[in-house]
């Protein structure tokens, strides 16, 4: 079965690469170099920080964008165009199909992240910045964040149309980043009901803020090992749970 997962992911990757989606990555890479050049001319003392900030920001935005928009159409497109029938009418269980599709799309994300990471680090390094562990962790956690978002949007695409699943997932992403700070504001703390609602939300829906290490990098803050471990476990377990849920639902879904 592993072989078939790899075959499906390979052809999914091939199909997406040929759709020229990675031209966006190339454009962002060019923009990154232009901004870095401009930064060296207009910033005093910290051009490497601007390059790093912009690079990590673009890296995050583009990969989350790919997760969101391509994840929302990953399964509906297969069902609407009946290509799924060509695959699962062969000795391919449904879980193998969906695992292959998700790994294929994740590979596209990894290519995007790897390309922009190398470019960001190169720009920052050439401007005098240093490459430390925190930057590497920030990039790796971005991979985890994209994977989680991809699974969230694939999950919603099993029930909703493309526009709705994209909108809901975007909302979940934004709330997932804002939930911690929202819980701490005075207005919420003084209202028990709202506080409870947010706590329940925090328990059930993914807390994307835990996977965002960019601020630690930009503001040169130290990241504790326990924080990294906890966040990694949280992201991995949540992704695994969501993946299992997707497989169970897809196995039972009527593909009509």
């Amino acid at each position: 079965m592993l072989n078939k997962i790899l075959i499906i992911s390979f052809y999914t990757l091939k199909e997406i690469l040929k759709s020229r989606i990675l031209y966006v990555t190339l454009l962002i890479g060019i923009a990154l170099m232009v901004v870095t050049y401009v930064a060296t001319e207009f910033t005093f003392g910290v051009p490497e920080k601007v390059a790093l900030d912009f690079g990590l920001g673009m890296l995050s935005l583009s990969s989350l964008g790919i997760s969101l928009f391509m994840g929302a159409t990953l399964l509906p497109n297969e069902i609407n165009s009946r290509t799924v029938y060509m695959v699962i009418s062969r000795p391919v269980p449904r879980w193998v199909f969906i695992t292959g599709k998700i790994i294929g799309l994740m590979s596209v994300l990894l290519i995007n992240i790897a390309f922009l990471s190398v470019l960001t680090l190169l720009c920052s390094y050439l401007l005098g910045g240093e490459i430390n562990q925190a930057i590497i962790f920030a990039i790796l956690f971005n991979v985890l964040e994209c994977m989680l978002l991809l699974l969230v949007v694939v999950f919603f695409s099993l029930f909703c149309n493309t526009i709705l699943s994209t909108s809901i997932s975007l909302l979940v992403l934004m709330l997932g980043h804002a939930i911690k700070e929202t819980q701490n504001i005075g207005f919420v703390e003084s209202r028990a009901f709202i506080k409870t609602v947010l706590e329940v939300y925090h328990l059930i829906l993914p807390g994307f803020y835990k996977l965002n290490l960019k601020d630690f990098v930009i503001y040169n803050q130290t990241i504790e090992t326990s924080y990294i471990l906890n966040s990694f476990l949280y992201g991995s377990c949540y992704s695994l749970f969501l993946f299992c849920l997707i497989v169970v639902i897809f196995n039972r879904k009527n593909l009509d």
Binding site: E15, K18, S19, N254
Partner: protein, 302 residues
């Protein structure tokens, strides 16, 4: 080979909508080595039945059993080739990449895959286009590459959903020839179509659905005999004012006092006797058999 046993399928899009019965307690069997046509108007339940057979959707009640194909799903599906209706495939892959993809999923060794592609691609006249992306293919070419992907792994059972739609007459003829050829090699073929003459031409059995119910399951010949009213056209010479005493359905008079009377099987001999008794010149008798298409429309309208 396939036993479709008391299958019903009810669709209900949401809580407030009325349930729609797509299949109502339908049972039939596809024997090994047969070529079975699946007939029915649009919405009769053909595609729903095929989706249930292929496990894309689950029946509300009843079950589908595969006999002599294996015990586990993987073993069974290795021996089935399925072509869905109007497939779009992966637009950015080339024809060759797509066929390699499908072949490897069906566990065809790469050497055999190459041989099969070399054998069939020229037959389907797509060998020149295999290095082009599928988005550049015409509808007919897509149908042909889809059929090639369906038979690549040498399946024992071939299930086709409207395989001839979208093809020009030459393309249809070529595809029908290949279907007949693979059937002669011992494959069981089950295909749905609303093009009745195609089914009449190549199928030995037909399953007929109407509004989700099974109307007929049997041989084409038996259906033609049971449903069709056999008629005869008797041509003879007689004075223009002559009117036969025998009950005729239709009567025409042509120049030269040539009469043509359409009669039922029971009236045929009576009319002949009358003509002989009156010493009239019988020129010929033509046996009119209704086509499967005429029977199809007759059943559909009733």
């Amino acid at each position: 080979m396939i036993v479709f046993n008391g299958v019903s399928k009810i669709f209900k899009s949401d809580l407030l909508s009325q349930p729609f019965v797509a299949l109502d307690n339908v049972s039939f069997e596809i024997p090994r080595g047969s070529m079975v046509g699946f007939l029915g108007a649009n919405g009769a339940g053909k595609t729903t039945s095929l989706k249930i057979i292929m496990d894309f959707i689950r029946p509300t009640s009843g079950q589908v059993d595969f006999t002599n194909l294996g015990s586990d799903r993987s073993g069974i599906f290795k021996k089935i080739g399925f072509l869905p209706e109007r497939p779009y495939f992966y637009q950015n892959l080339t024809g060759h990449e797509f066929l390699s993809f499908m072949g490897s999923l069906s566990e065809v060794p790469s050497m055999q895959l190459k041989k099969e592609i070399q054998k069939w691609a020229p037959r389907f006249k797509i060998d020149h286009a295999l290095n082009r992306q599928l988005k550049t293919y015409s509808k007919g070419m897509l149908q042909r590459v889809g059929f090639l992907a369906t038979i690549l792994h040498n399946p024992e059972l071939i299930i086709l959903d409207e395989p001839l739609s979208g093809l020009d007459p030459i393309g249809r003829k070529e595809l029908k020839d290949v279907i007949v050829e693979v059937h002669r090699e011992g494959k069981t073929v089950f295909f749905s179509s609303h093009i009745v003459p195609d089914i009449e031409e190549i199928c030995d059995r037909v399953i007929f659905l109407k509004e989700g119910k099974l109307v007929y399951d049997g041989t084409v010949d038996k259906l033609l005999q049971s449903e069709g009213q056999t008629e005869y056209i008797v041509k003879y010479r007689a004075p223009s004012e002559y009117t036969p005493q025998t009950d005729v359905k239709e009567r025409q008079i042509f120049p030269g006092n040539l009469h043509s009377s359409t009669v039922s099987e029971t009236s045929k001999n009576e009319l002949l006797k009358e003509l002989v008794d009156r010493n009239l010149d019988v020129i010929g008798i033509e046996h009119i058999k209704p086509s499967l298409e005429e029977i199809f429309y007759h059943i559909k309208s009733n």
